[in-house]
């Protein structure tokens, strides 16, 4: 069973009495690279975590292909975090960890791991402790680890926020390759230029609400919401 289309229906999220996400409804379909754009603290990461089922909504519901329980569908999704979470293991063991959890036999796993490490350019560092890799290498490893799962949806939470321009370009190229392989891309960013480079569709988030969900061309030329227009002009009132 597929986990797309993924829909949030009137989703609100409060943590410790603070209302962080308010009445968000949106649907994600197979195909376009969806970029969730917004300022710091707008709620982008929370919407991503709600979509991946890492957080449960306080009100409203999240549906994956119509199902309200994620269950085994979780294994059809993968997520890459802003600060890559490196297990205290080798690069190779990190890349294969998700497959191991999913119960793939060792022989199949080894081939798949070698393939993804090659694709992200980390094959020669396979035996190194993942925690001594550079920031850019760690993020590539996190991408390889997620890619190894061959997910239907790949969630990426500001994956380049801590990276230099070269590493950023490398990460973006990998994201495009993963997309070309058939995965749905859902990625947050606060960078307008990155959104312009990657987006097929933009979801603009402002103060815990979705201001608009618009095809990229239209969004950058002619945003529907006043908040997005202000953000594009670099003068979003906060």
């Amino acid at each position: 069973m597929p986990s797309l289309p993924l829909s949030l229906e009137n989703v609100s999220l409060s943590i410790g009495g603070a209302s962080l996400i308010e009445d968000v409804s949106l649907t994600l379909h197979h195909g376009p690279r969806t970029i969730i754009l917004g300022a710091n603290g707008a709620g982008k990461s929370l919407i991503l975590r709600l979509s991946h089922g890492l957080l449960g909504p306080t009100r409203g519901s999240v549906r994956w292909g119509g199902a309200e329980r994620l269950g085994p569908l979780r294994r059809r999704q993968a997520m890459v975090f802003q600060k890559p979470i490196m297990l205290r293991r080798s690069t190779r063991a990190n890349a294969g960890y998700g497959l191991k959890i999913a119960g793939m036999p060792r022989s199949e796993r080894e081939a798949r791991v070698a393939q993804v490490l090659e694709r992200v350019g980390l094959a020669r560092l396979a035996e190194r402790d993942a925690r001594v890799l550079s920031g850019g290498e760690q993020q590539k490893l996190a991408l390889a680890r997620a890619w190894a799962l061959d997910p239907e949806i790949m969630f990426l939470d500001e994956p380049t926020a801590n990276l230099d321009p070269t590493a950023t370009a490398a990460v973006e190229a990998i994201v495009n390759e993963i997309h070309a392989g058939g995965a749905k891309i859902v990625m947050t960013t606060q960078s307008l230029s990155q959104a312009k480079r990657l987006a097929d569709e933009v979801i603009f988030v402002h103060r815990g609400r979705v201001a608009e969900q618009t095809p990229a061309d239209e969004f950058f030329a002619n945003p529907r919401s006043a908040e997005a227009a202000a953000f594009l002009k670099g003068e979003l009132a906060w």
């Binding site: 890492l54 294994r75 999704q77 993968a78 975090f81 979470i85 959890i101 402790d129």
Partner: protein
């Protein structure tokens, strides 16, 4: 003063000549304390991991209790085990009183809270770091527990060594339940206490030196093992 010096020189002789009584006491000490720490590890590490990963009502209270139990006074533990194992006690029929087994039980009770509480601290931190990624992979609770136990193994060595250090240096509990019987239940600490009170300082000093060296070596190696983990590296 010369009395103390001569005690020192006899003590050295005992160690250098590998005195039979001395060796026997050291052997028994390690047998008892290593057994206790092995059992405490089998209980404490999984318990610490479960407390770090599983959310259940009363978890916080249990963590506080276990931390508080780290300070259990050994003589009181000895007394309680004595009551349980003595002939009229609930487990008296097992005939374990004044045996090395009783000493292992007593040390175990003393150090299970230590191994559990210290490993919980280590694993809690690791789990907080890993949690979202493990959830994202759809890891089950047993998979999460095994992952943090494996990845935290270097730091867990420190928890286990702290337990061993406490067991091997403790005197009150093993004195009560072991009875300090020569050739049967006499260990380093109880021998030191006895020989010192008899005024026979040589054997006490020899054992004291070995105990100090053991404790220092233990803490040094715990530090080295923890330090070898490349936790502070990476960017």
């Amino acid at each position: 003063m010369s009395e103390i010096l001569s005690a020192f020189s006899i003590a050295f002789d005992l160690i250098v000549s590998l005195d039979r009584e001395l060796i026997e006491i050291i052997r028994r000490t390690f047998l008892v304390s290593l057994s206790a720490v092995a059992i405490a590890t089998l209980i404490g590490l999984p318990a610490g991991a479960v407390l770090a990963v599983v959310r259940f009502p009363g978890r916080r209270a249990l963590v506080i209790l276990i931390n508080a139990l780290m300070g259990l006074p050994p003589v009181v533990v000895g007394l309680v085990i004595y009551l349980v194992l003595s002939r009229s006690g609930p487990l008296g029929f097992m005939g374990l009183m004044f045996s090395p087994t009783a000493m292992i039980v007593a040390q175990c009770v003393l150090i299970v809270p230590i191994v559990t509480a210290l490993s919980h601290q280590v694993l809690r931190e690791l789990y907080e770091e890993y949690r979202e990624q493990l959830c994202s992979f759809g890891a089950t609770l047993p998979q999460m527990i095994l992952t943090i136990l494996w990845d935290g193994r270097r730091n867990l060595v420190t928890s286990v060594m702290a337990g061993f250090g406490r067991a091997v240096a403790e005197v009150g509990a093993v004195l009560i339940v072991g009875g300090n019987i020569a050739g049967v239940t006499r260990v380093m600490t109880t021998t030191i206490a006895l020989e010192t009170s008899k005024g026979d300082l040589a054997l006490a000093l020899a054992l004291g030196m070995i105990l100090v060296v053991t404790a220092i070596a233990l803490n040094a190696s715990a530090f080295l093992v923890g330090d070898a983990a490349p936790a502070r590296q990476g960017g």
